[in-house]
Every structure is written in C-alpha cells, then in structure tokens.
C-alpha cells in the first residue's frame, strides 16, 4: 500500500532522510519512533507530499507520490492527523468535517452531515457537532481531527505525533479511537512515543535515528530483543 524506494531528502545541506526503504502493506499499522530530530515527522509528511523529496520515490497504492500526478486526488485518499490538530477555528465541528467531502468529492451537504454525525459517534463526541474548536479540549479536538480525516473515506491514515500536544489525561481517549481504527483494518502510519499503543496494534515498529531507519521489527522482537544497540539505548530512555 505504501512503499518507500530509496528515498533521500535534504533541507539545504542537512541530510534529513537517508536511503529510506520501507513498506507498509494494506491493513497494517507501522509505528515510527525515534529521538527528536531523527526525521520521523519528515518521513511521514513525505507520504502525502507535504514535504518534497530529492531522490527515490514513494508509492501509494501503486501511484508515484512525487511524480507528476494529480496531487489533490492522491491527498483525498490519505487522511493526515497533525500534532497541533489544525482544526479550522472559524468553523463548527460539523463544518470542519463536511468541508472536504462537499468541496472535493462534491458530496451532497445533507449526506455529508449524516456522515459527519456517524463519524462523531465513532470518535465519541457526537454531542459536540455544533461546538467550535476553541470550546473543545485538546483530546476532543484531536478526535474531531481524526473524524475529519476519516470523512474522505481514505485508504490510509497518517498520524504525526497525535498525542504529543495533549495533556496526559487526554492521551488515552485519542489512542482508543486509533486502536479501534487499526482493529477495523485501516492502513496506518503513526509517529508516536506511545509504546503501549505500538505494542497493542503495531504490526511493525520502525526506529529512526539521524535520518535513517536503524531497525524495523515486529513489536515482540522490538521490545524484548532489539537487534541494535541504539534501539536498546532509546528504549531504555523512554520505557518505564
């Protein structure tokens, strides 16, 4: 479903992604972790071309992301959830969710609202349909952001540190939604430090350091018997 083929990226002279090869099969969940500045956010942002790459190619469902294809069509099939939620502050929750379906897919407004309500039930905040983002807690905002992403019925959902901006007591309500999504068979790439989540639903864990993929393993091996010293050092720092 997602395939990185020898991807390299530079910010000026800074080599931020080094020879990345990675595959995420359909219906699987890849969790990316690593120290800050290791390139994990950049990597996930390349999948829907929020960042450009300088060499190699990324394929999503067989389509070259960085080739000269129709970018908006491709992006419509990939949901993206940001660390800072990025809800539209001037729109109510339901309008946040219906915007892309009605404008990009030309879905009928009533149908889109019906869909939005279903999704709000799914993320557990149906009572907030007419609230504005500013009236919601961080956890609620992030769940709306997930619903907004799902409204386009994407093939893939990308999560860029979805719980890093949240107060600790709100992290679980967001993770629960993501776990449900993973169990429903969504193809997901998740940049996170939530190792509990990684253990529970991750099909593979990718550890990045200094722009390169150091280790990629199943959760069982990754947490109990990592191959690389750097992975071990990292896990020692972040695991309780």
């Amino acid at each position: 479903m997602i395939k990185f083929d020898n991807v390299n990226k530079w910010f000026g002279s800074h080599h931020v992604l080094k020879d990345i090869d990675l595959e995420v099969p359909e219906g699987k969940v890849a969790v990316i972790c690593g120290p800050s500045g290791s390139g994990k956010s950049t990597l996930i942002r390349c999948i829907n071309r929020l960042e450009k790459i300088q060499s190699g190619e990324i394929f999503v469902d067989g389509t070259a992301v960085h080739g000269k294809n129709k970018l908006t069509e491709l992006r419509a099939e990939i949901g993206f959830v940001f660390q800072q939620f990025n809800l539209y502050p001037h729109m109510s929750v339901i309008d946040n969710i219906t915007l892309a379906p009605t404008k990009v897919k030309k879905m009928d407004m009533n149908q889109a609202k019906e869909l939005a309500r279903e999704l709000l039930v799914k993320v557990g905040i149906e009572e907030k349909a007419h609230a504005y983002p500013v009236q919601l807690s961080g956890g609620q905002q992030q769940r709306v952001a997930i619903a907004r992403g799902l409204a386009m019925n994407p093939k893939i959902m990308l999560f860029d540190e979805p719980t890093s901006a949240l107060d600790p007591e709100m992290i679980n309500e967001v993770l629960e939604v993501m776990v449900k999504l993973a169990k429903d068979g969504m193809t997901m790439v998740v940049v996170t430090h939530e190792m509990g989540f990684a253990k529970e639903v991750g099909d593979s864990i990718v550890f990045m350091d200094d722009g390169a993929i150091v280790e990629r393993n199943s959760p069982a091996t990754f947490f109990t018997n990592p191959e690389h010293d750097r992975t071990r050092q990292f896990l020692n720092k972040i695991l309780p």
Binding site: Y88, H90, L99, A100, V104
Partner: protein, 222 residues
Amino acid sequence: MQEFYINSLIDSLPFFFKGWFITLELSGISLITSTIGGLILGVLKYLRIPIIKYIVAGYVDLIRGTPFLVQIFIIFFILPEWNINLEAFASAVLALTIYGIAYICEIVYSALETISKGQVEAATSSGLNLFQTLRYVILPQAYRPILPPLVGQYVLMVKDTAIVSVIGLTDITRVGWLTVQRIPDGILVFGLVGIFYFVTCYPMILLANHLERKFTIQSSSL
C-alpha cells in the same frame, strides 16, 4: 470684517459641498478599486509564485518609496506623452488606486502570514486545491487581522485625496484655495475645509478603533 467673511463663507457653502462630494466620490471609487487590487496582489504575494512575487514586491517597493505627489505628476504629465488622455478625475482615481493597492497589498499579505501554516497543510492534505483552501479556510480567517488596518488605510487615503487638487480637480481642498482668494481669511476658510475632512474621517477612525478592540478581545478569549 470677520462677520462679513463669515457671511460670504456661508454664501459659498454650496460650493464647499460640491467640492466635498468630489472628495467623497474620488475616495469612494479609489477605496473600492484599491481594495480589490490590494486583495489580489496580497494573495499573489502570499502564494509566493516564482517571478510574480518579484514583480509584486518591486511594485510595492516602488510605490512606497516615492512620494504620492510625484506619482500623480507622473501619471498626469506622462500619460499624454503616450497619447493616453485622461481627465483630471480619472487620473486622480488611477493615481490613488495605484498608490492604495501597494499599501493594501501589504496589509493583506501580513494578515495572511499570521494564519498558521498548519491550516494550509490541513486543508490541502484533505484534498482541497489551492483556490478552495484560500476561499474556505484562509480568507475567512484573514478578515480579522485585515479589517482594522484596512480602515486605518482608508482614513489615510481620504486625506491623501487632498493632494489631487494639484492637477486641477475641484475637490474640497481646491475649493479652499479658490475661496481664500475671495475671502482672505485663511484660518476661517481652511478651518472649514478641515472640518469637512474631519467629519468624513472621524467615523472611520471610530470604526477602526472599534474593530481593533473587538478583534483583540475576541482573539484573546480564543
């Protein structure tokens, strides 16, 4: 003597009102044209389109780096050389528009820059194209930071219309010049001219202050 002047001034009031209408007409038309132009240019600058961004930046710097009076002279005296003959009113509108666009472009651009890049990323990630992103996500958020300085700019532009009297347009300032030749009491005549400007601008100043307060309170409660 003073009483005689006041009486003649009262007799000339219709003349003053006529000049005031010219000022209002000139300001009104120029505000609309320069707002439309400024919005378009501001958005273009925000989009950072190659080549166009340099043209916009060059235009803005050129206009902001030369006196308005000189710009008017250039338009009024140079255009006929190219066989473009505009009447004084059209020249004045053109000059005010060219000048207003440069400032309004900067207001719009700075306002757009205050909106987080995450908004653009969220919108384009969901499949909205650039036009839809601007139309539904960015511009609706931009009116708050745009409006207060825009109204402030309108006040400046209304006052700057005074300068166009140099090319023979009988606006309220030129009415003052003509009247003071008959009624040689400068303080009285130009005091009256000043009142006309103040009556025009003061409501706008109040509006700008009101918008400033309203949007500051709203954004601090957000």
